[in-house]
């Protein structure tokens, strides 16, 4: 136990607790649903979680700075629709350009959010509640009620969902899920090790101290919103590839799903605590529950949401109770260590004098 304590911080244990919870839920449903332990289940969940997972990573970056981005649902829908429309008219745009276009479009919308929050000093919830409505309004107005149609899209895009990147034993790692994985790993790395990432935490846990310490807080918040928008744009591309037919209601509700994934994944809504990997686990936890409930013959279609809400609540409660226990254990331990360290320092000081 002591070795474990020295090795890990409570926040890293939190992710282990989440993984254990996910496995517990999977084990339970394995006893309930026929043929549950199969590669198929993995494919179903991994492909359905991709959109929300990508958005949740961006959401996490923003929440870490003690802000929130509620406009992501509209950004996902906007990019999916507009990129789809452009592609329908010109099938020859190279794939890389298409992805870049989606990301750039999302980043531009995120930049407007960031500008208003960081430099206009308008609270993030007000800005993004406003742009949630605004981006959707613009989309509906420019669409003229036309839909993006599958048969007008280039073949490579329509056939993207079943494409495999590699196999992991029996498990297929699909390209769309792989994109989400890359995003998670990349941003987990940035948040943990890059200076910019560490500053996100500093700003979120104590904005005043961060300002005193001379961090360019405005610029960092601005960038976080751009990245959140860019990732929502990328998710919009994944959305387009997955569903083909896109109407103007696309992506509705993703904002609440991404916030739910982040907070279930241990990202503190008051900033400064949590990680992109945690949010990814949160998204998986919710998706596993959801996708298992719709396959569970024992419950009727109408019980699904009632149970989903309850299970999310219980998962978060379990996680919180375990974490509180652990944190207490740690702080007792640290008290002992720091106690001995201080006395050692005193001794050293004395010696130097």
């Amino acid at each position: 136990m002591n070795a474990l304590r020295r090795r890990f911080q409570p926040e890293q244990i939190r992710e282990l607790v989440l993984i254990a919870l996910i496995f517990g839920i999977i084990l339970f449903f394995g006893t309930q649903i026929e043929n549950y332990f199969s590669p198929r289940t993995f494919t179903r969940i991994s492909t359905s979680v991709a959109v929300v997972a990508i958005v949740a990573v961006g959401q996490t970056l923003v929440i870490l700075t003690r802000n929130i981005d509620l406009s992501v649902g509209s950004i996902v829908g906007f990019t999916a629709y507009v990129v789809g429309t452009i592609l329908s008219r010109n099938n020859d745009i190279p794939p890389v350009m298409v992805v870049l276009l989606a990301v750039a479009m999302g980043a531009a919308m995120g930049a407007l959010n960031g500008l208003l929050v960081a430099y206009g000093r308008v609270p993030a919830i007000i800005v993004t509640l406003g742009t949630l409505a605004l981006y959707r309004t613009i989309l509906v107005e420019i669409s003229g009620a036309n839909s993006v149609l599958t048969n007008e899209l280039p073949r490579w895009l329509v056939n993207l969902p079943p494409v495999n990147v590699f196999h992991l034993g029996d498990l297929d790692i699909r390209l769309l899920f792989f994109i989400a994985l890359v995003v998670v790993v990349l941003f987990q790395f940035i948040a943990s090790y890059a200076a910019w990432g560490r500053r996100l935490y500093a700003i979120g846990s104590n904005p005043d101290a961060a300002r005193v310490a001379g961090f360019p807080a405005q610029r960092i918040v601005f960038t976080a919103f751009i990245l959140s928008g860019a990732l929502a744009g990328l998710a919009g591309f994944v959305f387009l590839a997955r569903f083909g037919n896109i109407t103007v209601v696309a992506g509705q509700g993703v904002e609440l799903q991404s916030v739910a994934a982040a907070v279930v994944g241990g990202v503190n809504i008051n900033g400064g605590l949590g990680s992109p990997f945690g949010a990814f686990l949160g998204a998986i936890l919710i998706d596993v529950i959801d996708n298992s409930l719709i396959r569970w013959l024992a419950i009727s279609e109408f019980w699904r949401d009632a149970l989903l809400g309850l299970l999310i609540l219980l998962a978060v409660a379990t996680d919180t109770v375990i974490m509180n226990r652990l944190r207490k254990a740690w702080s007792r331990h640290e008290l002992q260590i720091s106690g001995s360290e201080t006395s050692a320092e005193k001794g050293g000081a004395h010696h130097a004098a």
């Binding site: 009620a145 048969n151 569903f243 896109i246 719709i294």
Partner: protein, 368 residues
């Protein structure tokens, strides 16, 4: 602090008193003649004045941003020009996430504005009835199309795209065509549990299946995709996993059928599980040609909008009284009769019909 609050309060008070003082003076102003609900309900609304200043009309879809509703507007516009109505035809709809409250709001505002006739594709079930009744009392013509008011309260006539009982038969027939003579198991992927017309069609389907002729078709389950691509796509795959011997997904909703077909195509399941239901040719052409959705049905929304306009206009001008047995001409579409709606306990309908069943032979031409 306190003082400023009192200042605000008193300003508000003065303000509301001003309003109260203005109100009676403005109410009878000629700008909003039909707005005053205290006027006794006109039994023959506006028959005389309609010739002079036209009949302001509103076409209201379930919500905005859906192709089929815009097609209906095109049809209504065509009739609007044909009949030479000098007043305006407005196409007003709520946002999808606020559909019920939004439809009621638009209907109430139309009453205030003195609109003479409204055509509603009802998404609010019986919840819109009180607002519709208030509109009727204010002398407005209320016609529903695409989806009626189930209790028929506040509605004069429902313009039915097809016979709702026939919808059940058409779906059962398509299922039999796709599954072959020896039949098989299938499931229904609907929109939301609140969609009254979807529910009526599913009930009709279940009724049809009781007929011995369809004895070898078995309905396994009814699930809901809430007319969202993500939900419908996931639900379709869940059905495949839940029922390994299922051979067909029947989706009586344009969003659901396209999402289910895409899901089967993506997972390479088109050989085992087919998709059918009600869909738009333009959205389905790919899946019909590659065999994922060999057969589906729909009606013309352009014609539906056109016919609805004729019915509403003739009711508003007094040319039709809205009673059972009346016959009328609807421009290029020919002669129709107002009849009792056999699919509801109460209410009148004008039946348009028929279905067009699409398959590989005609879907490409229709998708253009």
């Amino acid at each position: 602090m306190r003082k400023t609050n009192i200042v605000i309060l008193s300003m508000l008070l003065i303000f509301s008193m001003l309003l109260a003082a203005c109100a009676p003076a403005v109410a009878p102003a000629p700008a909003a003649p039909a707005a005053d609900a205290t006027e006794p309900a006109a039994t023959e609304p506006a028959a005389a004045e309609a010739t002079g200043e036209g009949v302001p009309m509103v076409l209201m879809p379930k919500f905005l941003g859906i192709l089929v509703f815009d097609q209906a507007y095109q049809g209504a516009l065509e009739a609007h020009k044909e009949l030479g109505n000098p007043a305006e035809l407005q196409f007003l709809g709520p946002t999808p996430e606020n559909s019920v409250a939004g439809q009621i709001e638009i209907l109430t505002n139309a009453t205030t504005q003195g609109v003479k006739a409204i055509m509603i594709s009802n998404n609010a079930g019986d919840q819109i009835a009180p607002a519709a009744k208030a509109a009727r009392e204010a002398g407005m013509t209320v016609v529903t199309w695409d989806s009626p008011i189930p209790s028929a309260e506040g509605e004069q006539v429902f313009v039915a795209q097809v016979d709702f009982n026939e919808t059940g038969k058409v779906m059962a027939d398509m299922a039999r065509n796709i599954l072959g003579e020896d039949g098989g198991k299938f499931a229904v992927l609907s929109a939301s549990p609140d969609a009254a017309n979807q529910n009526a069609w599913i009930a009709a389907l279940q009724e049809t299946l009781k007929d011995p002729a369809y004895a070898n078709l078995e309905l396994l389950d009814i699930v809901y995709g809430n007319d969202q691509s993500e939900d419908s796509y996931n639900q379709a795959l869940a059905l495949v996993d839940k029922y390994p011997d299922m051979e067909l997904i029947m989706a009586p909703t344009t969003v659901g059928i396209a999402a289910a077909a895409k899901a089967m195509q993506d997972e390479g399941l088109c050989d085992q599980v087919k998709v059918s239901g009600l869909g738009l040719p333009a959205e389905m052409v790919e899946f019909t040609l590659n065999g994922c959705a060999p057969q589906f049905a729909l009606w013309s929304f352009v014609d539906l909008g056109y016919l609805s306009y004729y019915v509403a206009y003739k009711l508003a001008t007094g040319e039709l009284q809205g009673v059972e047995g009346e016959t009328f001409e609807a421009g290029r579409m020919g002669t129709y009769t107002i009849e009792k709606d056999p699919t509801r306990d109460a209410g009148l309908r004008v039946l348009m019909g028929p279905f067009t069943v699409y398959d590989a032979s005609n879907v490409e031409a229709a998708s253009k």
